[in-house]
């Protein structure tokens, strides 16, 4: 079997998939079947929190593909996450229909508020879920294709590329803050009512979205594993380690980088789309440069270039963040900075490097 072959040498990945399967079974039972008074009952708050972490894990996975394997440090992956989120948000806005504050069936509330008379052209089609899903993939993918084509073709690499991606996310944040853009300005898109006809706040819907997220993460993991285990994956690592050597071996380096970037952007877009119905809002804050940097820290903390390390990192940092921001809200950014510095100095291979240190020693001294 393909999957068997892919995971033969990826024990960490097997553990991740096993835990995901466990979540997929346990969470619905604990939330829906166990009565509310019981100590084992899981609140929808916890389900949503877990679901959020899973989205972050998917986002971390996408960053690990481009940074850990491709060696391209994107400090703007929040852009693709945000675009995916906005596409889903637009669909959810259209589902509100007449139930908005102004009761306007044709226009979202914020457009009525701005005295707009008709829906902008780029909102067309978002009533349809399949169309929205298509855009979730196409919008981040197309932006990555154009941006990547320009950047890689000009052989922009290293820190310069990182700075440009950071500028990209900042530019999009400023643009989305503007009301004239037609995406709800600084309030973003919110007040969602239902998704595919199911009320979005109902417990069963939340569990449904949670399960979808688990499935998406598992499928994305398998896909990433397939890509990294293929010759494509080895070429990408070769480019990371010796770009000109790869070029003189006859590989068109730019197109490898470009398609890796697009793949990564699509995964990030998917994670954004899964994120929005769970947290109930998408606003330009998702494009803030700080967010994108935080995402890079997840991967660094977990350990890059392993895939499962990214999942571990996303969970570890975000769990800490949840705890920290309720206990010492002001101190979080300092803690995050300290964590990043410590991990870089003490654990260059991240948390999973601790576990696999023995395994790599064996490889080095066969």
């Amino acid at each position: 079997m393909l999957i068997q072959r892919l995971f033969l040498s990826d024990r960490g990945g097997m553990v991740v998939l096993g835990l995901l399967a466990l979540l997929a079974i346990a969470v619905p039972i604990l939330t829906l079947a166990v009565p509310e008074g019981s100590a084992l009952h899981m609140s929808t708050y916890t389900v949503t929190l877990l679901g959020k972490f899973l989205c972050y894990a998917l986002l971390a996975l996408s960053l690990d593909m481009i940074w850990g394997y491709g060696g391209i440090l994107s400090l703007g992956h929040g852009v693709f996450f945000g675009l995916g989120g906005y596409c889903m948000g637009m669909y959810l806005m259209r589902q509100i229909g007449k139930r908005g504050v102004y009761g306007n069936a044709d226009l979202p509330d914020f457009m009525v508020f701005l005295n707009w008379s008709e829906l902008p052209w780029y909102w067309a089609g978002f009533d349809s879920f399949p169309f929205a899903l298509l855009m979730v993939v196409l919008a981040p993918g197309a932006l990555a294709l154009v941006f990547g084509w320009l950047a890689f073709r000009s052989r922009v690499t290293g820190v310069y590329l990182s700075i440009i991606t950071q500028a990209l996310t900042y530019a999009l944040m400023l643009a989305f803050f503007r009301n004239e853009m037609g995406f709800g300005g600084n309030n973003g898109l919110t007040d969602f009512k239902d998704i595919l006809g199911f009320p979005i706040t109902a417990d069963s819907t939340r569990v449904g979205i949670f399960l979808t997220t688990v499935l998406a993460l598992a499928a994305a993991y398998v896909a990433c594993r397939f890509v990294t285990a293929s010759r494509f994956g080895r070429v990408v690592m070769a480019i990371r380690d010796a770009e000109s050597r790869a070029r003189f071996c006859g590989y068109q380096v730019e197109s490898y980088k470009l398609w890796l970037f697009v793949f990564s952007a699509v995964l990030a877009g998917l994670s954004g789309a899964l994120f929005v119905p769970q947290v109930g809002i998408i606003n330009p804050g998702e494009f803030s440069p700080l967010n994108s940097i935080e995402q890079v820290i997840w991967v660094a903390v977990g350990g890059r270039g392993t895939l499962y390390g990214a999942v571990v990192g996303a969970f570890a940092v975000n769990y800490t963040k949840t705890w920290f921001t309720s206990a010492y809200p002001e101190a979080w950014l300092f803690a995050l900075g300290t964590l990043f510095v410590l991990v870089t100095i003490l654990l260059p291979k991240g948390l999973v490097g601790l576990l696999s240190r023995r395994a790599t020693d064996e490889v080095k001294n066969p």
């Binding site: 890509v227 010759r231 494509f232 070769a238 070029r247 003189f248 071996c249 590989y251 068109q252 398609w259």
Partner: protein
């Protein structure tokens, strides 16, 4: 090695007597004729003329050594052939029909020109075996690599090259853990996997022990005939041991060309190397 191959001068006239080189499908030239034509190449960087109307022909199957003092334009010449640097003027033809100036680096490599860098450059995190596998001549576009699988013929090819470069015992090792000399060989092995018509080799024995140097000399000499080999080297003892024909570059153009003896007795070469 047959008698004819031993006498390089006869390559041109007695070419028909030699075994056909393993031709890569893209290239179609008659053996014995020049395979690489550099004509009137000039390259300048900020006013400095790195190459000045350089004209050079490399015959199919020959082993050519290129020497010259620092700044003579040796590396720039390689950059021009492999597409890394575009010349201001001049023509570069590969075979009769392929205009290298119109191709980009990866296309030139796919057409059968391999290059070894001065500093050994291998894919450090990948194993020796994977390094060779990546270098192998095959469909190298994105989609094909995603679904690529080694066939048995290709596996045999990799094993052959592993034994030529003496790294069979290390095929699972990360390339980054090899010694300097082993990395040099791995890189030469990667060139062989590409099955190029022309090999450009920049300082192959830098940092090698005496024994390794000897082995490299044997390897390069055995490659000539099947491939054209262009070696840039400073180590004169090494050049003497392998060279049949030597080209001396000076200030971006050819100063002298001929056998080792001719070169050593050429007063212009002596002047450039030893000063007045």
């Amino acid at each position: 090695m047959s008698m004819v191959e031993r006498i390089p001068r006869f390559g041109k006239t007695l070419g028909w007597a030699l075994p056909e080189p393993e031709a890569t499908p893209q290239v179609n030239t008659d053996f014995g004729k020049p395979i690489l034509y550099l004509e009137d190449i000039s390259v300048s960087f900020d006013g400095f003329k790195a190459l000045n109307k350089l004209t050079l022909y490399i015959d199919d199957g020959e082993l050519r050594c290129i020497i010259g003092p620092n700044g003579a334009g040796k590396t720039t010449m390689m950059d021009v052939i492999t597409g890394k640097t575009r010349p201001d003027t001049g023509n570069v033809y590969f075979g009769q029909t392929i205009d290298l100036l119109k191709l980009s680096e990866y296309q030139i490599a796919q057409n059968g020109i391999g290059r070894k860098f001065q500093k050994p450059t291998v894919f450090e995190k990948l194993s020796v075996y994977e390094n060779l596998e990546l270098a192998m001549a095959s469909d190298k576009n994105v989609w094909a690599s995603l679904f690529f699988k080694l066939n048995s013929e290709q596996k045999v090819h990799i094993e052959q090259v592993l034994s030529i470069i003496n790294l069979e015992a290390h095929h699972k090792k990360s390339a980054g853990l090899l010694s300097h000399g082993q990395k040099q060989w791995l890189e030469i092995g990667m060139l062989l996997m590409q099955n190029p018509r022309v090999l450009l080799v920049d300082e192959p024995v830098a940092g090698m022990t005496g024994e390794e140097t000897e082995h490299t000399a044997e390897l390069l000499t055995s490659l000539a005939g099947k491939h054209s080999v262009i070696v840039v080297e400073h180590d004169m003892a090494f050049v003497r041991s392998i060279a049949k024909k030597i080209t001396v570059l000076h200030q971006g153009s050819v100063l002298a060309e001929g056998s080792m003896d001719q070169i050593q007795n050429d007063p212009r070469v002596v002047e450039v190397y030893l000063g007045e």
